[in-house]
Amino acid sequence: MPEDLVTYAENTWCPGCGNFAIMNAVKRAVGKLGERGVGRERIAITAGIGCHAKIFDYLNLSGLYSLHGRAMSCAQGMKLANPDLRIVSFCGDGDAFGEGLAHMMFAAKRNADITVIVHDNGVYALTTGQRAPTSARGFKGPSTPRGNTEDPFNPLVLMLEAGATFVARGYVGKLAELTELIVAAIEHEGFSFIDVLQPSVTFNDTFEEYNASVELLTETPATLDEALAAARRTDRKPAGIFYRIEKPSNERALYGDGNPVADHPARDERLAKVKAILGTA
């Protein structure tokens, strides 16, 4: 586990928070990717805003600390600019399925080649515990003191239906498996999504529940229907890779093997092209 993956930023997560495990898994995953030839200098990250997003400051990786709900849009822009980068976006459940839902759905639809790791704690933690899109009906938070009146979204189902080509669920209580999921997601070409069950010990402590209900998938479901069925299970919480298919990524579909940043033209070259269009060449 490369210790140099940590910056000098003071860690302010609550003791026992599930986010620590996600950070550990990411550090290990980066280490493994390094062994496989993807150096940390080729990995760039983005983050939304929330407790989860503090991982941006803690990780010694380059990137952009974005806005609430926009991390995955910024990530797509980075990838579009330089497809040689591996982009990992850290989002909260509020980021990904509230403020930024449309960006997630479209990233999946167009198969943007980014990895989105959702720290799914079922709550808006940093803003002191309001209900999130993944909060259960009845959840009490300061904006819903009598209880949430909405049913939660199922993130896996939404991403599967939107067209994601890699869909997984991880759990902070299963660090080794989570590490492998992250490695696989980053290695996947196309839109990769990992919903990480991340208890917020302060606002939504689901450790016990998840320890009892999370169960590793023995194999990746063979079809979209099977993946959906697994994602819908409520008796148990399957974890692992639910779905993985090959499909051209958005960037390849747009410019094949091109690379806007690497292919940036020399000035003369570009001016010649402009003149050609003007008919004044």
């Binding site: 380059s62 600390y65 092209k273 003007l278």
Partner: protein, 555 residues
């Protein structure tokens, strides 16, 4: 026909080829080496309604359509009705006699003629250039050449149809409007095309946009020419996605531009503030239409000035400039793209529908276009890379991944590395750094051309943006002895260039109901207008009417 200025108008239903007919007329004039200005007027609908194109031409550069055409071709009853009273003295109206029974003009059964061929509905527009060719004295061969150049498909039907119209017009009015040749053939561009090409000339790598009138044609133009130019073009799910993707693209090293109109710009505000904090170079084109809200999508207004000057929450260096002509749109787009890369802050190219979608002949000095270059880390810095290094001019060198260095861009207040801070002294330090960057930008602009002055006459007229074209033409056509002053930069507002006018009582011309530009001048430059000539019905000024209004204001 006043002087050698000639105006041609073709009107009909959306879908009848009116726009194409107008464009063909413009090309014809341009091919004669003449100056051309083309104005398209169309409502927000796809078929039917009333469209017209007005093309004015002169042997000099001309910067406006004229409201009183010399030659009208009215393809339907509504065009005839709408425009019949507008003819200039000595003008002629050619009316589709199948649609109008008792119009005052030369009746030609255009529909009947068109029905001799397949798809008559699509063909009627060809009558426009055919009639024009006859009226301005093109030989039949020249006319056929024109049609062949302009309508490349279906020539075996278009040529005989055009010939019949040509013959009928020639018979009725001869070559009444023979036009002189001008000095040199120039390209014709719309403002949006000029912006697209200007940005391309500065090294644009990526253009992102969600369709919105009147900015959409930048998207369409660049999408059409993407491979040719080497620009990646993408139309994402919303303006919010556009703007945030643009920030992402910029921090990964791509010269990036986005474009939209008022409503979409409103949605980009948060991302512009992100770019301000992250110090990410993003150029945004704001092509205005009458507002508020959805407003009047296909018409023009300068109602977004205040909104545009104050984009994004919080304090960071803002940069807004607006081109006065299509040619300047090219230069300015390049210049702004270059400035955002020099100063690492978002900028807005503010324009209006009248410039975006009007076309004119341009003299472009492509080689003089600015080139966008990042200020890059020179490697000599000790202690590793710091994205927000606290430099003397507030500009921190850039570096892009992949890199061994740690490159942290952020929306939070931060230290030099880019790591979040809530420490008071650190907050002050970054505020001060951004303030110094604003100062540096200001210093840069003080050495640059930020205000245009035209003429040196007695009457001082202030204007900006696309209205500049109207004012210049009004002054020329009206023979007004004026100095036209046009601030190109609107934020920072170039007060240093305007000090000489403090205390003068100029005339201000703008397309706004509230008179925002006049207010800006008064507040920033202490230049109080003696009169504000406004138009805010969605239509651009007519130069002759405007000249009249200016003359009344002078008195």
């Amino acid at each position: 026909m006043s002087g050698d200025t000639f105006t041609f108008l073709v009107g009909g239903k959306a879908g009848e080829g009116v726009k194409k007919a107008g464009g063909s007329a413009a090309n014809l004039f341009a091919s004669m080496g003449r100056g051309v200005f083309q104005y398209d007027d169309y409502p927000s609908l796809i078929r039917g309604g009333h469209n017209f194109v007005s093309v004015s031409t002169a042997t000099r550069q001309i910067t406006s359509q004229y409201a009183r055409p010399d030659l009208i071709v009215a393809l339907d009853a509504r065009s005839c009705e709408t425009h019949k009273g507008e003819l200039a003295d000595g003008g002629v109206a050619i009316l589709n006699s199948d649609a109008v029974s008792n119009g005052d003009g030369v009746g030609i059964p255009i529909t009947t003629e068109a029905k001799k061929y397949p798809n008559p509905g699509l063909r009627v527009g060809v009558a426009g250039p055919a009639a024009l060719a006859a009226a301005v004295g093109l030989s039949r061969d020249e006319m056929e050449d024109l049609i062949s150049r302009e309508y490349k498909r279906d020539l075996e039907n278009n040529i005989p149809f055009a010939a019949s119209i040509y013959g009928a017009v020639r018979e009725a009015i001869g070559d009444r409007f023979r036009l002189e040749r001008g000095d040199r053939e120039r390209p014709i561009l719309t403002g949006n095309e000029a912006i697209a090409l200007g940005a391309a000339a500065a090294g644009l790598d990526i253009y992102l946009a969600y369709p919105m009138s009147p900015a959409s044609t930048i998207l369409h133009f660049l999408a059409k020419h993407d491979r040719e130019l080497g620009v990646t073009v993408m139309h994402p799910e919303s303006e919010i996605a556009v703007a945030n993707m643009a920030v992402g693209a910029a921090v990964a090293g791509a010269r990036t531009m986005v474009g939209t109109s008022g409503g979409g710009f409103a949605l980009m505000e948060e991302a512009l503030s992100l770019a301000g904090m992250a110090e990410a170079p993003v150029l945004c084109v704001l092509a205005s239409r009458p507002g508020p809200a959805t407003g009047v999508p296909t018409y023009t207004e300068q109602g977004d000035l205040g909104f545009a000057r104050h984009y994004g929450h919080g304090e960071f260096p803002r940069l807004v400039a607006s081109p006065g002509t299509v040619g300047e749109a090219f230069t300015l787009a390049a210049e702004l793209l270059s400035l955002v890369w020099r100063f690492q802050t978002p900028a807005v190219l503010l324009t209006e529908r009248h410039l975006s979608e009007s076309a004119m002949t341009v003299d472009l000095d492509v080689d003089a276009a600015a080139w966008a270059e990042p200020v890059v880390q020179d490697g000599g810095d000790a202690g590793g890379y710091l994205r927000y290094r606290d430099t003397a001019d507030g500009v921190s060198p850039m570096l892009f991944p992949p890199s061994e260095e740690l490159i942290k861009w952020t929306s939070y207040e931060h230290d030099e590395t880019g790591i979040t801070t809530e420490d008071g002294a650190a907050i002050v330090r970054m505020h001060d750094k951004r303030s110094r960057k604003r100062e540096a930008l200001l210093e840069h602009l003080k050495g640059a051309r930020t205000v245009n002055r035209f003429g040196s006459g007695r009457t001082i007229i202030f204007t900006y943006g696309s209205t500049t074209m109207s004012v210049l033409e009004a002054v020329a056509a009206g023979g007004i002895d004026a100095t036209v002053v046009q601030p190109v930069y609107l934020e920072p507002f170039p007060t240093w260039e305007l000090a000489e006018y403090a205390g003068t009582r100029p005339i201000v011309v703008e397309q706004s109901a509230a008179g925002q530009f006049a207010t800006l001048l008064a507040e920033k430059a202490r230049v109080d207008a003696s009169a504000v000539v406004k138009r805010y019905d969605g239509r651009p000024f007519d130069p002759l009417e405007l000249a009249g209004a200016i003359r009344r204001a002078i008195r």
